[in-house]
Symmetry: C2
Subunit: 245 residues, 2 copies
């Protein structure tokens, strides 16, 4: 279903704020970047289903741009593992592969446990407050059964922990490696939520950070992500058609 994309890219913003050559990073919203963002969102949210064909020319027409920025965006998505390109044949939304998901899960555990360990060691008061705030919002979202909101806060929490590690660019790396998993989690959202358990796990992580206990923080994080991993595997039973051979 590409219809939803129609016309989303009209009246493009001016791309650069000012003279900025080799200066601070400005939000360089090229068409390529915009198309990338739209397609990525569509894939992760399963608006574009695994295995579905992507016709570049059609996408270009629908978004009102030429084939070039669409191709560039898709190349990037291919590097990220979200689309599969078969040269001279076709482009498809990547199907889910258990072994790739397993690797992504491993990378996620490795990066985020290490990050939370640093975050706990750094442990500023400001981050502790931010984390508590997020947790409170999660509780509200859970009470009103707002799955989408809960999901977004969950992502935000993990991003905040990466930032709290104090390592420049770690959040982006972690987010990129997490994209496969995010896709699966979105699909699971419709089946099951585990919100109350998740909430408790998040609370444990945040407490460990606040208490500046790196080892405990790492342990709680590992438990949390691992439990999610078990959930991910259940999806294959429920929706086998989404998976590659």
């Amino acid at each position: 279903m590409l219809a939803g994309l129609q016309g989303e890219l009209h009246n493009l913003q001016p791309r650069f704020s000012s003279r900025n050559y080799k200066e601070q990073k400005v939000v360089s919203t090229t068409r390529k970047d915009q198309v990338y963002g739209i397609l990525r969102q569509a894939i992760i949210s399963s608006q574009l289903a695994p295995g579905e064909a992507i016709r570049k020319e059609l996408v270009a027409t629908q978004l009102g741009v030429s084939r070039t920025p669409v191709s560039e965006a898709i190349n990037r998505l291919a590097d990220e593992g979200l689309v599969e390109i078969y040269p001279q044949a076709g482009t498809f939304v990547a199907r889910l592969w258990l072994d790739k998901i397993e690797t992504a899960q491993f990378v996620r555990v490795a990066l985020e446990t290490a990050a939370v360990r640093r975050a706990a060691a750094n442990g500023t008061v400001e981050t502790a407050i931010q984390l508590r705030k997020n947790l409170e919002d999660q509780r509200k979202a859970a009470e009103s059964l707002d799955f989408e909101q809960f999901y977004e806060l969950d992502e935000a929490l993990h991003d905040m922990i990466c930032d709290a590690s104090g390592l420049v660019g770690l959040r982006e790396i972690a987010a990129k490696e997490r994209s496969q998993i995010d896709r699966v989690r979105r699909l699971l959202l419709h089946y099951e939520t585990r919100m109350s358990e998740t909430l408790l796990e998040h609370e444990a992580i945040i407490s460990a950070i606040s208490a500046r206990d790196p080892d405990l923080a790492a342990k709680t994080m590992e438990d949390h992500i691992s439990k999610m991993g078990i959930m991910l595997l259940q999806l294959q039973q429920k929706r086998p058609e989404l998976f590659g051979s």
Copy 2:
């Protein structure tokens, strides 16, 4: 110095072996991929120095291709953090940034200690033999003071450990995240080598894997990578011009 690239891409190989739609992954050597490989190698080996301008059109001419595959290759290198693109202004080999190197170092430690832990837990006899073989080759390279060879064997060893984790695609992810560090290590190669110490550290790692001791393996790996991290910082004193502000 781009002159070295001249004509390296002539008589392109046929790109696909046979009818292979959605079948096994064939080495799809598109021009884009070839240009990517050439440029990446040139950057990591410092044949193209940090901060140096890359003129796409010139590269295209030198390699005998059009601007399109060159642009695509460079986009990928930009995602990888090896080049900096300033829209409408110019493209440059990425300078070195201490904070990015620090993050890359962190990611490397996180991934490779986790990988070696799994490798030690899996611990097949075949991998132990392979690792010993590599170590022996390293010893020979060290004896004959063949820095380049030693460096390559070092990389191969880390790749083998990723593979021994049994996680599909982990090697590629680790290699990509390591590219910043590889570049710095290449530069250091000319100043200092530490081959004998490195050899001992590698031996400790391999012994731990062979002994199927995950905790020890992780510890030796962490020590090893961390020591390298200290070396990396020394480069800034020696070659400050390579670094960004």
